[in-house]
């Protein structure tokens, strides 16, 4: 049976790892490389790494830094931030990314999603959508440029369009819940889950393990992402999986699957 993934999100700004509240008031929370090393050691299910200022530069993603991060990352890695052209994706995959996440560029150039999917496969494209509730309070509008620009797009329509153009997963983030530790916007996650037939990753607001259980059991998320909860509280991805397992959600427990890699025996060849 497919396992529900618990995915730490690493937001990266210039030289360090940051975390904000509502996509603002960024705090430095360390450096990227040690964080990747720790998460790899703990065998997390997957990691998402997003350069939150890359969209401002109108330039290529920082391939050099991503290459350094990729070399340390033994778990599946999704890289986002500043992807504007399909050619950049091959370089990211060579640098250690396994999937890429697109957001801002897709609004102006939705064909970017189709072009990446055509070359690298649908499964390679994670479409990231950042939203705020609209004036009615029961609907959501999409924002680009790290939450700064309103696009006017309705979240369900946009999610369906991205799916139609070849996105393999949707990473849905509530800007208002981001960093608050108050829980995912379950209605939002559920709205996106029912709008598309591709997997949906819930993001924005996780503060307790129960929030993750709710995102899966109540809202139907295929995976749960979190940042502040892992940066600022004692809670860990392993703890989250134990809580999910206790709530009968299937999760992977790498510690029970201890296999020797046999590195020692290979060394005799060298």
């Amino acid at each position: 049976m497919l396992k529900v993934r618990v995915i730490p999100t690493l937001l990266w700004k210039q030289f360090g790892l940051v975390k904000g509240v509502g996509f603002d008031s960024w705090r430095r929370v360390g450096t990227v490389l040690p964080a990747i090393k720790v998460y790899c050691q703990r065998e997390v299910d997957e990691l998402i790494l997003v350069d939150i200022v890359a969209h401002k530069l109108n330039d290529d993603p920082d391939f050099e830094s991503i290459g350094e991060f990729g070399r340390e990352c033994c778990v599946p890695l999704t890289v986002g931030g500043g992807i504007t052209r399909p050619e950049q994706v091959m370089r990211l995959l060579r640098s250690g990314a396994d999937k890429v996440s697109v957001n801002t560029s897709a609004y102006a150039h939705p064909e970017l999603v189709s072009e990446i999917a055509k070359r690298h496969g649908v499964q390679c494209v994670v479409a990231s959508i950042d939203v705020r509730t609209d004036h009615t309070g029961s609907d959501w509008r999409c924002f680009s440029h790290a939450g700064r620009q309103a696009t006017g797009r309705d979240v369900r329509d946009w999610a369906r369009e991205l799916e139609g153009r070849g996105a393999g997963e949707i990473l849905i983030t509530s800007i208002e819940r981001d960093g608050t530790l108050q829980g995912y916007d379950l209605a939002l996650v559920e709205a996106v889950v029912s709008a598309v037939k591709i997997p949906v990753i819930a993001s924005g607001g996780a503060g307790t393990y129960q929030h993750m259980v709710d995102a899966v059991k109540q809202a139907g998320a295929s995976a749960v992402a979190a940042a502040s909860m892992f940066h600022f509280t004692e809670q860990t991805p392993a703890g989250a999986k134990a809580a999910l397992a206790a709530a009968s959600v299937p999760v992977r427990n790498p510690l029970q699957q201890c296999v020797g890699t046999g590195i020692g025996s290979l060394q005799r060849w060298h």
């Binding site: 396992k3 995959l93 990314a97 070359r119 649908v122 390679c124 020797g260 046999g262 060849w269």
Partner: protein, 214 residues
Amino acid sequence: MRVGVIDYGVGNLGSVLRALDELRVTPILITRAVDMDSVDSLILPGVGSFADCAGRLAKDAWSQALRDQVLGGHRPLLGVCVGMQLLASCSLEGADKDSPGGVQGLGFVPGRVEHLRALGCTLRVPHVGWNEVVQRETKCDLLDGIPNGTDFYFVHSYAFVPDDPADLLATTDYGVSVAAAVGRGRIWGTQFHPEKSSRAGLRLLRNFIEGPVC
């Protein structure tokens, strides 16, 4: 042990090279078909769409060189993800009005590649994440030392259906039974990504490099 990683313009090469490094094997990136002579075994990496990948293999003389190297029995080959699917006779990914029967693959392991939905899967596609790999009863060296039911990392929308059930080494359950690993002679394929599947994945890569027999 010289392991060649075929660089045909697609694939998560960074991750594959990294995993081989971790096994203390020096990977050799093969950018020209003629360079295959210098290695002991070959890995055909994944992350791509079948039609695009098959076109690249056909265009740069990779297909013929792989046939000579692999079918001639000189070098074992491991195809990963779409690299495994390329071992099939044909795929319906990228099929269009010009080629309604699908796009031709290398044909090393007879079979076809179909969309998970066409196989009856009603769950969310792509199939993304960690899933249990159930091994067939006859043990196979490629999976040596890996407990039955170990989770591996999958990310795909299409699946390999081998013509001969004897070529099926392992399966996974995603609403339907999906081929997780295939093998014929010294040709192997895994639908999951061993390079991203933690210790079990590294163990599988080591088994491959040491030259399994099935």
